[in-house]
């Protein structure tokens, strides 16, 4: 079990400066039960036009990475490290400075469109608000742009929908409105947190197509966070796998799916029922429970569930090391059998 460690500052696109670079991000929440370490040293970057997927189970810290980037942490949360967007540091930026970037240069789509939309305002009002706030254009022009963007996300009768309230639309339609709202100012970065989890599978397929289509048309970068490995397989160039608030493996989509190198990634892929496996065999499972973020072990967070565990895993957190070009894992083992 040779251990070779070669740590680079972060993933970089050759030649081009990354659009977003996150470095040593740590996010903590102070709760009555103690400090919860939701994000524990996450570093990655995303290039212009790229789509990355962040996958992990509940409590892996994947959503909190997004909230930290967007500066949307609740009162009891705080982040350290660095989040640079177009070279500018976002952490610690005052709220009105941040508001000039959020919604224009970077936008976010949430899991549940019903709670993310304001039930008291019409779709048209919510869409034009984004434009009049950020772009200083008049109401009529904003309305026309709002109608156009609804058309682009394939909402039938867009002019009529502008006068409707969120509850009058179906779940799929509401998620389209969310995407339209995100795309309104042509952001450089679109952050989507489980955008299809609340939707039916046929609607999900349409929404994913729509995201791919919008990206092809505008060249926006996308960070897609999901627990569904099937969803990232379709859309993402590169994948980060998170566990216990850390990245445990990262690489391009094909490598992650066809040659997982971290025991967790491998086990996660195997435990998913698929449409083409042998239905009579038992599903391989990952024993035990995900870690408690308030009491993380000193070593690898996956060690208590890992079939390959040995002494060194329990002593210290394994570093996220490069194992091939653009390929990293946080595991002391060089090869999995």
């Amino acid at each position: 079990m040779g251990v070779s460690v070669s740590v680079q500052p972060h993933w970089q696109v050759a030649g081009a400066a990354p659009l977003l670079s996150v470095d040593s991000l740590e996010t903590r929440f102070t709760t009555p039960d103690g400090v919860v370490n939701a994000v524990n040293g996450v570093s990655f970057s995303i290039a212009t036009g790229e789509t990355i997927g962040i996958v992990g189970e509940s409590g892996s810290g994947k959503s909190q990475v997004l909230m930290s980037i967007m500066g949307l942490l609740p009162q009891n949360g705080s982040s350290t490290g660095s989040v640079k967007f177009n070279g500018r540091e976002l952490l610690g930026l005052p709220r009105d400075e941040l508001n000039k970037i959020r919604g224009t240069r970077m936008a976010m789509i949430f899991q549940d469109p019903m709670t993310a939309l304001n039930p008291y305002l019409t779709i048209g009002r919510q869409l034009t608000e984004v434009l009049t706030f950020h772009q200083n254009i008049n109401e009529a022009m904003a309305r026309e742009q709002a109608r156009e963007i609804l058309e682009q996300v394939h909402i039938p009768e867009p002019a009529k929908r502008l006068n409707m309230y969120p509850h009058e639309l179906s779940g799929g339609m509401r998620q389209r409105v969310m995407i339209a709202m995100g795309m309104l100012c042509r952001p450089d970065l679109l952050i989507a947190d489980e955008p299809t989890t609340a939707l039916d599978v046929t609607i999900q397929a349409e929404i994913l197509n729509l995201l791919a289509e919008q990206q092809a048309a505008t060249g926006t970068s996308i960070i897609l966070v999901t627990h569904d490995l099937g969803v990232v397989a379709q859309l993402c160039d590169r994948i980060l796998v998170m566990y216990g608030g850390r990245i445990v493996e990262q690489g391009n989509a094909r490598d992650i799916f066809y040659d997982p190198q971290h025991p967790y990634t491998k086990a996660l892929l195997l435990s998913m029922p698929r449409l083409d496996d042998d239905p009579s065999a038992d599903l391989p499972t990952i024993g035990g429970q995900p870690p408690n973020l308030a009491r993380l072990p000193p070593g690898c967070a996956f060690a208590p569930r890992c079939p390959y565990v040995f002494d060194a895993c329990l002593a210290a957190v394994p570093p996220l090391r490069e194992i091939a070009p653009d390929r990293r894992k946080a595991c002391l083992l060089d090869h999995l059998d």
């Binding site: 189970e57 569904d228 996660l268």
Partner: protein, 339 residues
């Protein structure tokens, strides 16, 4: 299995809910389940799939008579549930149980795990001595993979997967013949989901238990079901043996559903042909005329709006409700990864 007598026979079951409007509003109904028939044999799993609003949960509850049905018959081991009376029905409940989607919400937060699992015994075997009861509860906990030392803990001390195990232990304790599983793994993480599916399969094998497994997840349903029913707006679109329906889906809706399932395989995902459905699920208050699926069907023609398609037999044990099922499979390309 199919030469024995069915455990459960459901014929033309309908569940219609009245919609309350204004005082003078026209009387309208939601047809949540609209003429569903099937047989379920001992030890068999029938998977019921469909999107939200297709009536799959209502069907599961109506079969157990937890929701009164509007019309149709549910026959349990030769006895019509409608004629069983309140007392008879209560006795029959020992033999049929249900587990729910949200495992924590289904457990009383003020009761200990032991009391929750013992509740069916308290109801049906009230005279059972305390020691014997505790023995049965401990056994049930062990069978579902919970340590009996946790017997005095409360539900909030458990994770989602463990709560679902508690729900299964409660459902199993009276040794029922049927469990209706209503999206039992949908709220769980992938790694936990696999544990629960394996547990259900093991218990089913050991007890010759019949399951009605309701889920929107076609990959999960495939793992556990012997036969699969596809529902849309309260009606059966297709019903067949598991391998038959996944290999030769005849109904355009089944084909579209299968093609929409994201597969964790990037090369396949980026090249596969997806059958896209236009628009949303129509309102069940005002369903389309003829075939209810026609408004979203890529193959709809005139007759689909005029005539309700009958359930045709496409193969042995394979029924499909579509006017164009014979051509559907060639018009819509196969969309599954090679097995």
């Amino acid at each position: 299995m199919s030469n024995s007598a069915p455990l459960l026979t459901v014929r033309d079951l309908r569940v219609h809910f009245p919609v309350t409007g204004g005082m003078f509003a026209e009387k309208r109904v939601v047809k949540a389940v609209d003429g569903v028939s099937f047989d379920l044999y001992p030890g068999e799993t029938l998977g019921i799939v469909g999107e939200s609003g297709c009536g799959k949960s209502t069907l599961g509850r109506a079969v157990l008579n937890l929701i009164p049905s509007t019309a149709g018959r549910v026959v349990w081991l030769g006895r019509d549930l409608a004629e069983a009376g309140k007392r008879g029905l209560r006795a029959l409940r020992q033999e049929m149980q249900i587990i729910f989607q949200d495992p924590l919400a289904a457990l009383d937060p003020r009761m200990t795990v032991g009391a929750i699992i013992a509740e069916p015994i308290d109801t049906f075997e009230p005279g059972l001595p305390r020691e014997a009861k505790q023995q049965r509860v401990s056994e049930a906990m062990e069978r579902v993979g919970l340590s009996p030392t946790l017997i005095n803990r409360y539900p909030h001390e458990f994770s989602g997967g463990q709560c679902q195990r508690i729900g299964i232990a409660r459902a199993m304790i009276l040794k029922p013949k049927l469990i209706v599983c209503d999206e039992p793994v949908s709220a769980l993480d992938v790694s936990i989901q696999a544990q629960i599916i394996n547990l259900l399969r093991r218990i089913q094998r050991e007890e010759n238990l019949a399951l009605i497994f309701i889920s929107h997840n076609l990959s999960v349903v495939r793992i556990i079901s012997k036969r699969v029913m596809v529902l849309y707006l309260g009606k059966v679109m297709e019903l067949a043996e598991r391998d038959e329906i996944y290999r030769n889906p005849r109904h355009p809706y089944t084909q579209a559903l299968l093609s929409a399932v994201p597969v964790p395989d990037p090369d396949f995902e980026r090249t596969k042909k997806r059958i896209s459905l236009t628009g949303d699920l129509p309102s069940p208050i005002n369903p389309p005329s003829g075939c209810v699926f026609r408004t979203r069907c890529p193959l709809a023609i005139d007759i689909c709006a005029e005539k309700v398609p009958a359930l045709d037999q496409a193969a042995e044990g394979h029924v499909v409700a579509c006017h164009r099922w014979r051509e559907a499979i060639s018009l819509l390309a196969p969309t599954l990864p090679a097995a």
